[in-house]
Symmetry: C2
Subunit: 624 residues, 2 copies
Amino acid sequence: MYKGGYTSKILRVNLTNKTSKEEALPLQTAKDFIGGAGFGIKFLFDEVRGGVDPLGPDNKLIFASGPFSGTTIPCASRMAVTAKSPLTNAVGVALVGGYFPVELKYAGYDVLIIEGKAETPTYLWIKDGKVQFRSAKKVWGMKTTDCQQIIKNELNDQNVRIACIGPAGENLCKLACIINELRAAGRKGLGAVMGSKNLKAIAIRGSGEIAVADRDKYKTARDNFAKLMKESPVLYPQFSKIGTPMVVDHACAIGIFPTKNFSATGEYAPVDKIGVEAQLTRNVGSEHCYGCPVGCSQVKVAKTGVYEGIMAEGPEYETFFSFGGQTGVENIDAIIAADRLADELGLDTISAGVTIGFAMELYEKGILTDKETGGLKLNFGNDEAMLTLLRLMAYREGIGALLADGTKAAAKKIGKSSEKYAIHIKGLELPAYDVRGAKAHGLNFATAYTGADHNRGYAFQEIFGIPIPNEVDRFSAEGKGKLTKWNQDVRTATCDAPTMCAFLLDMAVAAQATQNTADLMQAVTGLNFSAEQVQTVGERINNLARGFNAREGFCRSDDTLPERLMMEPIKEGASKGQFISKDDLRKMLDEYYTERGWDLDTGTPKREKLTQLGLSYVADALKL
Amino acid sequence: MYKGGYTSKILRVNLTNKTSKEEALPLQTAKDFIGGAGFGIKFLFDEVRGGVDPLGPDNKLIFASGPFSGTTIPCASRMAVTAKSPLTNAVGVALVGGYFPVELKYAGYDVLIIEGKAETPTYLWIKDGKVQFRSAKKVWGMKTTDCQQIIKNELNDQNVRIACIGPAGENLCKLACIINELRAAGRKGLGAVMGSKNLKAIAIRGSGEIAVADRDKYKTARDNFAKLMKESPVLYPQFSKIGTPMVVDHACAIGIFPTKNFSATGEYAPVDKIGVEAQLTRNVGSEHCYGCPVGCSQVKVAKTGVYEGIMAEGPEYETFFSFGGQTGVENIDAIIAADRLADELGLDTISAGVTIGFAMELYEKGILTDKETGGLKLNFGNDEAMLTLLRLMAYREGIGALLADGTKAAAKKIGKSSEKYAIHIKGLELPAYDVRGAKAHGLNFATAYTGADHNRGYAFQEIFGIPIPNEVDRFSAEGKGKLTKWNQDVRTATCDAPTMCAFLLDMAVAAQATQNTADLMQAVTGLNFSAEQVQTVGERINNLARGFNAREGFCRSDDTLPERLMMEPIKEGASKGQFISKDDLRKMLDEYYTERGWDLDTGTPKREKLTQLGLSYVADALKL
């Protein structure tokens, strides 16, 4: 038993046998991995052997919150959802906020591990340690908002919090996400994993409390944290009013807002159509995750045409890219509508939008024709086609069946020269950064254990000049190996593991991130953490995840970038002429592997490094 | 203070001044009017003088529940919403169930009277006697489901219950309704009244309890009631599994399911497409109003095409008519989608569908052309056009602006011969009964104080042969005046006033209705009611409502039927050849007025009748 933060309990649910049991969370696991993505990857490595089918019953779906969730520390009601990704076959981790994560803690659990496969559509009802397996017949086929409401009604409790899949997850679309409220554990097809288990939803309600180990230290650490947040020139003054989409204008200004399937970055920057000024004409107010004083989620209501009256919580920056720049759609109301539709269908907005943009380029190039699209005019900028295609993808109908599993799978089926237009890494579609103009971010995309993932090691030094403007040259490949390691380890250790909102790292705590986390860990859990130890947790998690991927067969050659980003320079704008040459990538990788203590040829962690991190069992598993 | 049932308090809210006050509910009002529609009409008559603009600040919007709501008597969480109707200029009463009505009681009120007009979009937050006027900026423009969720989030209380309007109400569409959860206080444009007051929503939460006067009597009365319900051959065995849409097959079988704007009743009966067998392929389960053991609301999920995955609580029978038979749309999934869209836009499904069917007939007859419709192909059976038109009506865009206020207003604007295709009475569109084949029901439509309203005096004897099969000849005009008076008075007294679910009257209590209500009233309130006194309450309310309408200028000539129903016999089917001739109508009206003690020339209650009912003040107001 710990003194604070953790509930110290894991709930293990087996859908095949309809059994559940509680297990103690080992103290060493807490010390080594903190929580969240750390726990998820630890259990995934230990329990999901190499080579299992991600959509088979042997894959596991792991929900893990962090030690601060349920305390009064702000911005901590988050969780990591972890499984072997059907989209990448690598570690799949998606972080999400809202209210479900804290409810999991209040219900008594740090971690929920879902195993097996239910015989018929099922949802779980977890209330303060009691688990029920309930028929999901009533909500199967239902969109996510309705699903949540109907389950609340069925349980006669409006305070239940629910994570669920939409039709996309039911149909095993590899772009499917998991939705709680209108928030998405978005990427890597984790919704398909849930669907493959016949698990429509998890409903949860708890009345527990989360203790704090040292009240005095807690007050100090919490106050310091709040002070850092308050002192940020961006967090409250701008971010709380505009949210992530404020990045649209900035990314366009520095020439890294990707447009038209990364073919027109810098040439085409629809700031006047979907930038902050346009966004504010649609903002009606903000929504908050549990315990968050910032409230970055900007509720928008569409105002025109067939989209009039459609509300979205968002779209976030990424979605203004994926349903906007990437597809050439300039109609802000269509983007709002597509965002909401994707949430309702349970589709990841990034991967879905990138896949649609990919299909649009193929259509414009004549590689896909009306024959394949069933007459759908998939030209860039066709907003109605975009919304139609979203639906078709979720239901695997018509051309949607071809695209439902993302760009990599689609390119394989389409053949011809389509692969060179498939903008993905390890199967995961690129998010909203044309990393030709931000090279550490590019290296991060190439090396992140989840694939092209902005959330694994966001290079805020390059994108925003934080904490020191112009300290890092975003066009240079120099020193980016070391920077990327730092970004990945620190972000993992201070956001993904303790499940703290990543925006705080980027905008408020930055260089103090590890010390801040160490202070909070000491105060909340009573475990003795230094800033260095926190950072080591980040390194440990990244090495363990890399070990998982190595066991799946991933190696150095998978740490690459889409061909377009290495061959075609950005044509116009503030990043004009930039690209990441194969030579630059090679150099950055060499530096990165060296910094990481990984083998330069294979990109696999060396036994020595693993042992140093307490991961000799990984070395054993990999037969190093 | 009463011993039970009533909270004995009225909450009066003035939006102009942002003030609220509590008033005692007079004992005599309770005795004379029981509750619900009784209270609504009483306050409307007393407080809204003749001739006020229904969409002006002098109209009032009155929410009133009944004395059983909040007790354990089943099927009593209902309320009447009352105002002067902008659609008819007559009394506007709509009954609705769900959870809001009981929450109003728990918050401490039998009645909520809304006065004036807020300067800016506002919602009310009423919690256990405290009233807040809050900005509705965030939810203005929002559809009804999102609006309710966002308000719950803003109030940080998921147990709040909310009644709100959608875009249709905001845009003063006279077909707008008021929605709580997915239930509608549907007809007579009460949503426009709410919109005219700049009132987007009323959020309510209460923790009070409702006392019962005599526990022994209560147990007996409640058990008797439950027994009547249990003994019904229809209520649990069928109605709880199929709900109101089970009437589709029956209405087709007896030839009174109206189709294609009442032009093809009997000729065209799409039972195989939208009848019970087809419905069951879409049913996923049922929803319940608070405290209801029946759960008639059948949740449906659409399965095909662009409608796939859309859920509706319903559609009810009326909506299978209005978006199905009336428009010739046979696609059950389109009907499900239209039902949900109407709920989200806050449009009454009956009036909206009838208006669309009206426009379709005009289009097919060339009275409306592509010029007026903006190219929308308004042919019968065009489901996509139907859904498009719903949106246009809610936003008053294009052809929608012409149709947004219903058939009567549209016919006036269109001119030509359009009025003869406008199927309304007193401005209210006809519901799902072609009363050419059910003459008491037709007389009820002609005389109901709200216009063509199946809910004011449903002729279940004609439609279902309840309680005695074949006792009443539905094709005959004989004796229908007396029957209609009985139906109207009993339904008012046993359903609308005590706010009990009307389906119980039709299917379970029938002939015992007034005794059942008297027993429950005695037990719950301690007031001494006989069956006769209950029925007299119904008569009193109908006379008071008639008095209100007379003050507005309504007279005998308004008690009429659409020309088509009096001129064109039903062409095919089990009611072939039937129509209600002008002579039949005249005879039925004469009998009805005579039974009612109303003047045969004017159709106005005589002073003698009013005095006998304790309504001499109505006679005074009408200068009789």
